[in-house]
Assembly symmetry: C2
Amino acid sequence: MIEPQRALAHIRMSVQSELTDFLLQQTQYLGEIGSELTPVAEAMNEYLLDSGKRLRPLFAYAGYLGAGGSEDSAVIKAVASLELLQACALIHDDLMDGSDTRRGKPAMHRRFESIHEQEELSGSASAYGASAAILLGDLALVWSDQMFHSAGLSQETLVRSLSVHDEMRVELMAGQFLDIHEQALATSSVARSLKIARYKSGKYTIERPLHFGASLAIADERQRHTLMTMYSEFGLPLGEAFQLRDDLLGVFGDPATTGKPAGDDLREGKRTVLMAMTHDRANVAQEKIIARYFGVEELDSTGVEALRTIITETGARQHVEDLIEKLTLTAQDALNRDEIDSSAHALLDELASIAVRRSA
Amino acid sequence: MIEPQRALAHIRMSVQSELTDFLLQQTQYLGEIGSELTPVAEAMNEYLLDSGKRLRPLFAYAGYLGAGGSEDSAVIKAVASLELLQACALIHDDLMDGSDTRRGKPAMHRRFESIHEQEELSGSASAYGASAAILLGDLALVWSDQMFHSAGLSQETLVRSLSVHDEMRVELMAGQFLDIHEQALATSSVARSLKIARYKSGKYTIERPLHFGASLAIADERQRHTLMTMYSEFGLPLGEAFQLRDDLLGVFGDPATTGKPAGDDLREGKRTVLMAMTHDRANVAQEKIIARYFGVEELDSTGVEALRTIITETGARQHVEDLIEKLTLTAQDALNRDEIDSSAHALLDELASIAVRRSA
């Protein structure tokens, strides 16, 4: 058996190659409609091909192998399509959050804002950037469908997998709405933040990709559902741990690896589980400092440092670290099942580690 | 044979009933995730069920009948899903255009902006409204897939129809981008505006729904392609005529029937075929008045009237009316083919008339 790291690197390369092929076709297609669409194709190519951990395709493919599936390039193409769905989520998310950067580069709306300025187009550059980001997100969502549908799966496999795929996307959008709504509420709550984390990224990043993989592999309904339940026992706690790591990275992450400015979530005033726990534990003096700095657009490094200190001193940071550890152990325990193909155990274990111990 | 008007009314009612059922299920589903999503479900229900001409489902179903398909509630549900796709397009379009109203009611982003104000939520009401509109548009897009996929079609029919459906949506998004890009250019061009009209609404409103209907009806590939080619000969000119009618309604339409303020396109500075033709024909004095009023956000009724006069006096208005007439005749001529099931001739003819002679 090859090492899990090498196996994952191999899958990642295959995903990259399928995305490259698909985008090449789509670039050609857009070019036939008109040269005005060249910047759209270029932006999508850079966005999709330059970086990304490919976590969702990897979980989906590992879920497929764990369900007894054997190597198949059609399945690689189907799971690679999840990267296009993720591109939609990120492009729209950055626009909604007003984030300027993504993976160290300008966010999509900023990119088109710059194009507007450079080409001296007329009207508002920021409105042009926002419109372009809305449409490129929509296009990425439709492309993800197209890539999945044209992957070359058998008719039966494709139809069987549509419903999990649809449900995953509804949950994602519902979770995103819960998130923006939470930002608009005056109070914070650990329970509500955990629910958002579950829908917005936990289920969508880990549990549903695993289910998607299972549905690509198993024809028998009862067998498929049994395995999906087990994947949920692994994927749900791990997904929460994944999101909690995200919370910590948004506050303590190194800009060199996250590609986001230091303390970005603090500047945005993101209502994370980490912040809800900090609020719960803060004394009056600490609450005052939070009220002064949290969600302030012009927050400088002094303000970021002041908030970081409180998050650490209240114990919220350590508590979240402990919670990540606990959730990860719960998840890994759930892997020890005969129903999950043993060849995939090491892969899933390695992926779990990547999801919760990452620095970006 | 029943009259085409009655037949269309019957299909429209069936579409309404399928949408009602689907939204009821989804409302329940969202409610299970959390009561925070109640406003999302309410907004979608009102948006989808209160009005709408249902043109795309009607063209798709007529295309299905014209291809020899027989009445089938699964097909009704599949074509009804196009209304959800259209909801996505309109919700995002209104946000991008900064339109305040849709069908006489607040646009989606304005609706959520009001909710923010009424509930005294924190942060920017307009940012909340914009985020909600982005997400509700995304959700409508995903729901349209879900409704189509769960329509109860046979496996073979469903898989066969996915590619036309995907292509239609890519064209829509590409057309939308061409449109926002055109708005940002300093020059106007009849040729470019016609191309946008073709992608953004012509193909998407008529040709592609007809193709979708054909693909739902015909298994044989060669037969299906023959019919699709004929549908293009009917649908493409009719689609352009449809968009040209839209151009005229955007300038001369009655707010009581369009549900939009008088001269809304003039205020938005929309680069339509009608305006490109007006520019081409305007003399220096008229160009000056256009430069003064066109695209001015605070445009009052005097300004609207001044622009309307120029559009009429240059002959652009009449030229567009003539073009609509010519395109419609070309389309109707293309209907006289043996390959198109005769039972659908009257339906398609009636739909053509609705598409180009409407007042809203």
